[in-house]
């Protein structure tokens, strides 16, 4: 077992694959935050993980098969008899049973199977449930901007950052927010608004991506954001602006604190904020940390 920076390679792989116990993971986060080399190794492992997923997202279709063999002649009679008997039994049973409203609705439901299972955890719950699951240590009055939120859709899962198409732009800026200090967040929002206005004024080809993780997630949570209206306005005004929340942070809040995060409309998610930052830096984006 090879050790680097106090961690074996197996340990780093387990960290990337989310196989560590919470205390081990916490220790790893601390070390990774301090050690640049360790950070680089973790990023490389995450990149490999992403590449494998990318490589097999669309696989070639299997070759056409000959039609399935039909029932043999001597089995047809038996099959038909069993079928008639089964239909008779089922019909008899059904006719004697009252049909519930639920079953009526189910009968009218479309046949298509929607793959909602994978995203079930990420679909936002009703507001009352989210509020009940989100105990905060200190009660503070909700900012006025939050009042805008009730009209927003609450049942749509946030889009992935991968669905955002960023063309070949000249100025690519990544802003990283991992802080929940109100003064800094306000300043960051001012900076973002100013930057977007500047690029529009000079008609520059640009894209600004704001990656939010850790404590910074408060900025884009429906129940905590003090800048909901401002973010909505910016996203409405500028197509070349993206707010991306870290899915790892969202999962951690759910697992460790039981908080089901509801993101502001238009905010997308990225699997890992840290990996996204590294990816963008490798792609030549300018990195700004708040």
């Amino acid at each position: 077992m090879q050790k680097e920076n106090g961690f074996s390679r197996e340990f780093l792989n387990a960290f990337v694959d989310n196989q560590l116990a919470p205390e081990e993971k916490s220790r790893a986060y601390n070390e990774i935050g301090r050690d640049e080399d360790l950070n680089r190794q973790v990023c490389e492992l995450r990149k490999l993980h992403d590449l494998v997923q990318l490589a097999y997202r669309d696989v070639p279709a299997p070759p056409a098969r000959p039609a399935a063999p039909v029932l043999r002649r001597n089995h047809v009679g038996v099959a038909a008899a069993v079928l008639v008997l089964a239909v008779g039994i089922v019909l008899g049973t059904q006719l004697r049973m009252p049909v519930t409203v639920h079953e009526q609705v189910a009968d009218q439901a479309p046949v298509a199977i929607v793959p909602v299972v994978a995203t079930a955890d990420r679909v936002a719950p009703p507001r009352a449930v989210a509020a009940a699951r989100s105990p905060r240590p200190t009660v503070r009055p909700a900012p006025a901007a939050v009042a805008v939120v009730p009209d927003l859709p609450i049942t749509t899962a946030p889009r992935s950052i991968n669905e955002i198409h960023i063309g070949n732009v000249r100025n690519k800026v990544l802003i990283h927010i991992a802080n929940d200090d109100p003064a800094r967040l306000s300043q960051a929002m001012d900076e973002i608004a100013g930057l977007m206005r500047h690029y529009r004024d000079i008609r520059a080809s640009a894209h600004v991506e704001v990656v939010i993780n850790g404590r910074g997630l408060e900025l884009v949570r429906v129940d905590t954001s003090a800048h909901a209206a401002e973010i909505a306005r910016l996203l409405n005004d500028y197509d070349n602006l993206t707010f991306a929340a870290c899915q790892n942070t969202i999962d951690r809040l759910k697992n460790e604190q039981g908080i089901t995060v509801r993101l502001l409309p238009g905010v997308v998610v990225t699997d890992s904020g840290m990996a996204e930052i590294t990816r963008r830096q490798h792609q030549g984006w300018t990195y700004l940390q708040v």
Binding site: Q53, A55, V59, W285
Partner: protein, 185 residues
């Protein structure tokens, strides 16, 4: 009513198997990189799953159960086709991979080629973890190997892929503009 439940459960099980088909095929393809063989393996897996569906006590364990059958089918296929000294250590050469030389320049082609070059055991572990998101414990059950073996295979697989893939990507990265660091106070 029991009879109705029986038919409903049976239909649900068949639907679940049908939905798992695409995922089984994707992993089977990642293991063998051959569409016909992958399809045959999936067909055999589903056939066995239907035949032995009574063995599945916990529907939540259906995924791991299906992939265990797939892994057994895959192992049996190689057992039938030829004798081996140690199948885990056999490395598939570039020539036998389905990826053509022309697709090497593409990321997908490069990654598939790198995975095809991994020994079979490592290939299975890395695809089950990265594509299906199985935990190490589940992979250990699916492949019937100790969890330590899962971890070491995964570690070796990623190290090999890193050596193959990252230098090629770094070349293209070097061509792009260097990133700039700034801090807002």
């Amino acid at each position: 009513m029991d009879l109705l439940d029986f038919f409903t459960r049976s239909r649900e099980a068949q639907r679940a198997l049908q939905q798992a088909r695409a995922r089984l095929y994707r992993v089977a393809y990642a293991w063998c990189h051959n569409t016909a063989l992958a399809d045959d393996l999936v067909q055999e897996t589903l056939s066995k799953a239907l035949k032995h569906s009574a063995q599945l006590r916990d529907p939540k364990a259906r995924d791991a159960w299906l992939f265990t059958i797939l892994a057994n089918c895959f192992r049996d296929h190689f057992r039938k086709t030829r004798e081996m000294d140690d199948i885990d250590e056999i490395e598939i050469s570039d020539e036998t991979t389905p990826e053509t030389e022309s697709s090497r320049g593409e990321i997908v082609g490069m990654v598939r080629s790198a995975i095809a070059r991994l020994p079979k055991g490592q290939r299975q572990v890395v695809t089950l973890v990265d594509l299906e998101g199985f935990s190490y414990v589940e992979v250990s059950q699916v492949l019937d190997v100790p969890i330590g073996t899962v971890m070491s295979r995964l570690c070796r697989a990623r190290a090999a892929m890193k050596n193959i893939l990252l230098p090629e990507f770094q070349q293209s990265m070097a061509a792009s503009n260097p990133s700039t660091l700034r801090r807002i106070k």
